[in-house]
Amino acid sequence: MTAASERRMELVCPAGTPATLRAAADAGADAIYCGFADETNARNFPGLNFSPEELSVSVAYAHERGAKVLVAINTFAQAGNTGLWKQAVDNAAACGADAIIAADIAVLDHAADKHPDVRLHLSVQAAANTPEAIGFYTETFGVRRVVLPRVFSVPEIAALNREIDVETEVFVFGGLCVMTEGRCSLSSYATGKSPNLTGVCSPPDHVDYAEDRAGRMKARLGGFTIDCFERGEPAGYPTLCKGRFSALGHTGYLFEDPVSLNAFELLEELAKAGVTALKIEGRQRGKAYIASVVSAFRKAVDGLSGGADASASIAALKALSEGGQQTTGSYRKTWR
C-alpha cells in the first residue's frame, strides 16, 4: 500500500441552503462549502445561500457530525465597496467557519491580516495555474489549500503536487466550466452580470425558455439563443460555453457539449497524484442531488481503502447530470 492511498482523501460537498447543508452532513461529507446571500460568493442566485445567523447554526450542526464548514467568499470585491467582502470574512470567522475560500487579493489580504487562525483556501476563481502562481498565494497570504483550475490532466496534477508545498483540492463531480474559472466574462457580455463582477454566470433574470407547439424549447440568455432542444431531448442550463453555435458553416457545441464532470473512475489515480481533497460542485442543487451524490462519493472514497464497491451508486448519478451526459473533463488527455 502506498503512502498516498493510506491517507484518506477529504470529501468536500456543496450546500446552498441550511437544509442542503444538513443533507450533506448526514450523507457523510467531511467538509461542506457554502456562502453568504450576497455578491461575495460565486453562486449568488435568488433564494440561495446563508445569512450569518443561518451559518452559525449550520456550523454547529456540521461540527456535531464531524464535518467542517468552508465559507466561499470567492468573488472579486467591488471597487469602493470592499467593506462588504471584509465583513463577510469577519462574519465567517465569527460563525466558526473552519476555512475561508477566496480568490481576490483584497479578500485574502484581509483574512490573512485579521484572522490568521482561520485556514485560507485559494478558490478556483483565482485560476492559479502554475507552481509560481500558487507559491505567490501561499507565501504572501499563508494559503493552506489550493482548489485547482479544471485544466489539468492527472499526470499534470501529480507533477504539480511534487513542485508545491500546499494541499490541493480538485473537482470530481458536477457542472463543469469549460472556460478557465475566474477568467471568463462571456456572461457579462450577454447580460451585464458575470462571476467576477456579481457572482453569477448566466443570471436567471436574463434567462428565457420558450417552448413551441412541437415541444421544441429554445433557451436564451440576454436575448441570444444559446440552445434549442427537440421534444424529449435532454436539456441543459443556458450557459454560454455549453451552447450550440455555428462557425465555419457548421452548427454544434462549439465550446463543449452540455455535459457534467464525473471523475469517479480516476479517484485512485488522484489519490496517487497527491490530491488532499475531492470537491463536488452544485451549491445551486437540491437536497435530492446532494444526498445522492454525497453518499455515492462517500462510498467511493471509502471504497479506496477497502470499503464496498460504489460503482452502482455512482452509475445512478447519471440521471442528475446536465444533459444526462458525463465526462472526465481535462483529467484524461482526450481534451487536448
Binding site: 471597487a79 481576490d104 487579493i105 509560481e132 502562481a133 479544471r150 457579462s188 457580455y189 440576454g222
Partner: protein, 303 residues
Amino acid sequence: MTDTSPIELALGPCLFNWPAERLLDFYRRIAEDAPVDRVYLGEVVCGKRMPFNDPVWPEAIDVLTRAGKEVVLSTLAQPVNKRERNILVQQAAYDMAIEINDMSMVPACSGRTFTAGPFLNIYNEASLGFLSARGAVSWCPPAELPLASIQKIAALVPEVDVELFAFGRLPLALSSRCYHARAHGLRKDSCQFVCDKDPDGMDVATLDGARFLAANGIQTLSDACHFAGLASGQLRAAGIKRLRLSPHSLDMTGVLKAFRAFLDGAIDAGGLEARLTEMDLPGPLCNAYLTGDPGWKKIALPA
C-alpha cells in the same frame, strides 16, 4: 492643479496568430506613421505560437524604439507548461518594460516595475494597491470593469497610471481547450496552427444566425468591436491616462489617427464613430461595458 496633459495612445499586443512577415510589416507601418505613444508586443494568448513569432520581436522592438515609441513586452496570460513558465521567468529579467497577464509572474518581477495587464483579476483599489506595492506602475483594467469602478480605483491608487481598453474585439475568456482546433476537428496538441486562418478571430453565430462571439485559439472574444468614445476631459476626470487600441487586420494606423484627432478635439464622438464605421471593422461597434451594461450593446454615452 488640474492635469491637462494629453491622453496618450497605446497599441495593445496582437492577440491573433499573424504570420511573422505580416507582424513585422504591421509594426514597421506603425513605427512609420502611427500617432501612438506606447506599443505592447509579444505573444499573450498561446505559447505554441511563440516559436513562429519570436524571431519578429527584436526587429520590431528596434524599429519602434527608433521611431520614438515606448515598447512594452506583453506576456502570456495562461502559461501551462514548464517551457512557458521558464519563458516568463526569462522575460521578467529582460531590461525592458513588461506587462504581466498572470499572477505567475509576480514573484519573478520582485524588484522591478511592470504593467498589470487586462487578464489579471484586478477589480478593486485594494488589489491594485497591493500590486502597486510590488512594482505595478501602470494598469489596464479587465474589459468588463465599468468606468465608474475604474474611476474609483484610479482616485484611490493615484500612483498607478490607468490605461483603458478602448478599441477592438473584447477579450472575454481563456480556456485550456483550443476552439480553433476543435472546430477544425483537430486536437490541441496537433492543431496545425489553424488559428492563422482568421486574422481577427473565427466568427461564431447563434442558432438564429445572430453574430455573437469570435474564437481565437484558446481565447474567446466578442464579435462586436468595442470603442470608448470618451473625450479627453471625461477620461481625465475618470483618472485615465492612456487608451489601449487592440490590433485588428483593418488599417490600424487609420484607427489610431481617428482616436488622436478625437482626443485632440479635432473631431467629436460622432465624428470618431463615423470614421470608425467607414473602416473594415471586425464587427459592429459596441461600448456598453463602460456603463456596466451587457458588453455587446451600443449605448449613448454621456457627452
